[in-house]
C-alpha cells in the first residue's frame, strides 16, 4: 500500500459531488464498524471533517455524486490526480442517476427556471453569485466519463456492508471483487 500517514495509517478521503449525501449516510451506517476501522485509517478529506483542500497522496477516495458543475469538474480532476484508488460510490457517481435527469430536459437553464422562476415564488430570480456559485453543467456526467475510475460501487445508496467490504479489501491491499454482489438502484 502506498499512501500512509506518519502513524502508518491509510490516508482515506470521501468526496461529495452532485448527490443527495445518501451515500455518505450509508457510510455512517457502518455504525460500530467505523470504530473498528478508525485506528487503521486517517480521514484526510471529507464532508464529515474540516479539511478545505483536497490533500496530496491519498490512498483511496470514495466519490459520491455525479459531475454537475464546473466546481465538480475541478475537484474530480484534483481527486484523480492525488489519489491512488478512485472509487465511484453510488449510482449518481456511477450512472448520473437522478442528478442527470436534467440532461433530457434541455440542460441547466430550463431546470433552474422551473425551480426559481416559478410564478408561485414571491421574488422569482435565478441564483447568481459569480466567483461564489459555480456554473452548472448542461450535461451531467458519471464520474468515469470525466476521469478514470478504478472501482464502481453502484446502489442508491450502496449498502453499508458493500462499503465495508470495499474498505476492508483496500486496507488489506486486496482488489475488491464485487461482481454479482451489487446492483443499480
Amino acid at each position: 500500500m502506498g499512501a500512509l500517514s506518519p502513524a502508518g495509517r491509510a490516508r482515506v478521503a470521501t468526496v461529495w459531488l452532485g448527490g443527495c449525501s445518501g451515500c455518505h449516510m450509508s457510510l455512517l451506517d457502518l455504525d460500530e464498524r467505523l470504530l473498528e476501522l478508525a485506528p487503521r485509517l486517517d480521514l484526510v478529506y471529507s464532508p464529515l471533517v474540516d479539511a478545505k483542500l483536497f490533500p496530496e497522496d491519498v490512498e483511496v477516495a470514495l466519490v459520491e455524486g455525479a459531475v454537475c458543475s464546473e466546481a465538480h469538474v475541478e475537484l474530480a480532476r484534483r481527486v484523480r490526480a492525488r489519489s491512488r484508488l478512485v472509487v465511484a460510490l453510488g449510482d449518481c457517481a456511477v450512472t448520473g442517476n437522478v442528478s442527470a435527469l436534467r440532461n433530457a430536459l434541455g440542460g441547466a437553464l430550463p431546470v433552474l427556471e422551473r425551480a426559481y422562476l416559478d410564478p408561485g415564488n414571491l421574488q422569482p430570480q435565478l441564483p447568481a453569485a459569480p466567483g461564489l456559485l459555480p456554473r452548472l453543467l448542461d450535461r451531467v456526467l458519471p464520474l468515469h466519463q470525466l476521469v478514470p475510475v478504478d472501482l464502481f460501487l453502484p446502489g442508491c445508496p450502496p449498502h453499508a456492508d458493500a462499503i465495508h467490504a470495499v474498505l476492508l479489501d483496500v486496507l488489506a491491499g486486496r482488489r475488491p471483487a464485487l461482481q454479482g454482489k451489487v446492483r443499480f438502484g
Binding site: 435527469l101 440532461n103 466519463q145 464502481f152 451489487v182 446492483r183 438502484g185
Partner: protein
C-alpha cells in the same frame, strides 16, 4: 418421438425434437441470461442475451429460438459471449433513461438483475438521455417509453394470450417504439380490454399500474403458468 443427442458445454445431453437450446439449458441448470424470452409466449430472439456458440457455425445464435439438432456442439459461456452480453446490457442501459432509484420496478426489474448477473457495474458508452414519452392516458396503466427495452413481450402476450393485439412496434433502430392501436394514446384504444397482461409480463418498469410508488411494481404471471400447463397436460383448467 425421436431423441436427439448433442453436447452442452462439453456434456452429452439428449433432447426431444421440440426442445430449444434454452429449454436444455434450463433443464440442466446451465445459467443463461434472457430478457425477451418468457415461458408461455412465443420466442422471437429480440434481445440477443441468450446467444450461444454452435461449433462449425461462424454465427452466434440465440438459444431461445435455436432448435436442438443431432450432433450439435453448443458453448454457452466463453470470453467472447461474456463480452457481448455485457455490451448488450450496457447498450440497453445507455439507450433510454434508466434511473433505478425512482423506478417502479426497482428491486424487481429483470434488466437490473441481468446487469448484475453479467457483471455490469458501470456503462462504458455515453448515455443518450433521449426525450421519451410517457403515456398515462389509460385509466389503470402507464407506459414509460424511457424504460422500454423493446423486448416485445407486451406485443406477444396481448396478441397470443389476450387476443386483443393492441401493441405493435413502430419505427426503426433507436427510434423504434411500442405503440398502441396505430400510435394513438393507450387510453383511447378500442382494442385494449384493460386485462393488464402486458403490465404483468413487462420485464422492466416501462409498463406499470397507476399510482404505484418507486419499487412498488409486483408482477403476477400465474396466468402464463396455467396456460403452459394446460397445453402440456391437456385439461384446460387449473
Amino acid at each position: 418421438m425421436t431423441v436427439r443427442t448433442l453436447t452442452l458445454d462439453g456434456e452429452p445431453v439428449s433432447a426431444r425434437e421440440d426442445e430449444t437450446i434454452l429449454d436444455l439449458c434450463r433443464e440442466h441448470g446451465v445459467p443463461l441470461p434472457t430478457l425477451c424470452h418468457l415461458e408461455g409466449l412465443s420466442a422471437v430472439g429480440a434481445c440477443r442475451l441468450c446467444l450461444v456458440e454452435v461449433k462449425g457455425s461462424p454465427r452466434l445464435q440465440p438459444a431461445c429460438t435455436l432448435r436442438a439438432e443431432e450432433g450439435m456442439e453448443i458453448t454457452t459461456s466463453s470470453d467472447r459471449l461474456r463480452r457481448y452480453r455485457r455490451q448488450l446490457v450496457e447498450l440497453l442501459l445507455a439507450e433510454r433513461s434508466h434511473v433505478c432509484a425512482v423506478c417502479v420496478a426497482n428491486g424487481r426489474c429483470e434488466l437490473q438483475e441481468v446487469a448484475a448477473a453479467v457483471g455490469v457495474d458501470h456503462v462504458r458508452y455515453p448515455y443518450r438521455h433521449p426525450v421519451t414519452a410517457l403515456d398515462a392516458s389509460h385509466p389503470r396503466f402507464v407506459l414509460d417509453q424511457g424504460r422500454c427495452i423493446l423486448c416485445t413481450r407486451c406485443v406477444r402476450v396481448c396478441d397470443e394470450i389476450e387476443g386483443a393485439h393492441t401493441w405493435d412496434v413502430a419505427g426503426r433502430g433507436a427510434g423504434a417504439r411500442v405503440v398502441s392501436d396505430l400510435a394513438s394514446p393507450w387510453g383511447r384504444s378500442d382494442s385494449c380490454t384493460a386485462c393488464g397482461k402486458c403490465v404483468q409480463v413487462c420485464p422492466t418498469g416501462a409498463l406499470f399500474e397507476q399510482l404505484q410508488p418507486a419499487g412498488g411494481g409486483v408482477k403476477r404471471r400465474e396466468f402464463l403458468t396455467f396456460r403452459t400447463r394446460a397445453r402440456e397436460q391437456g385439461p384446460w383448467g387449473r
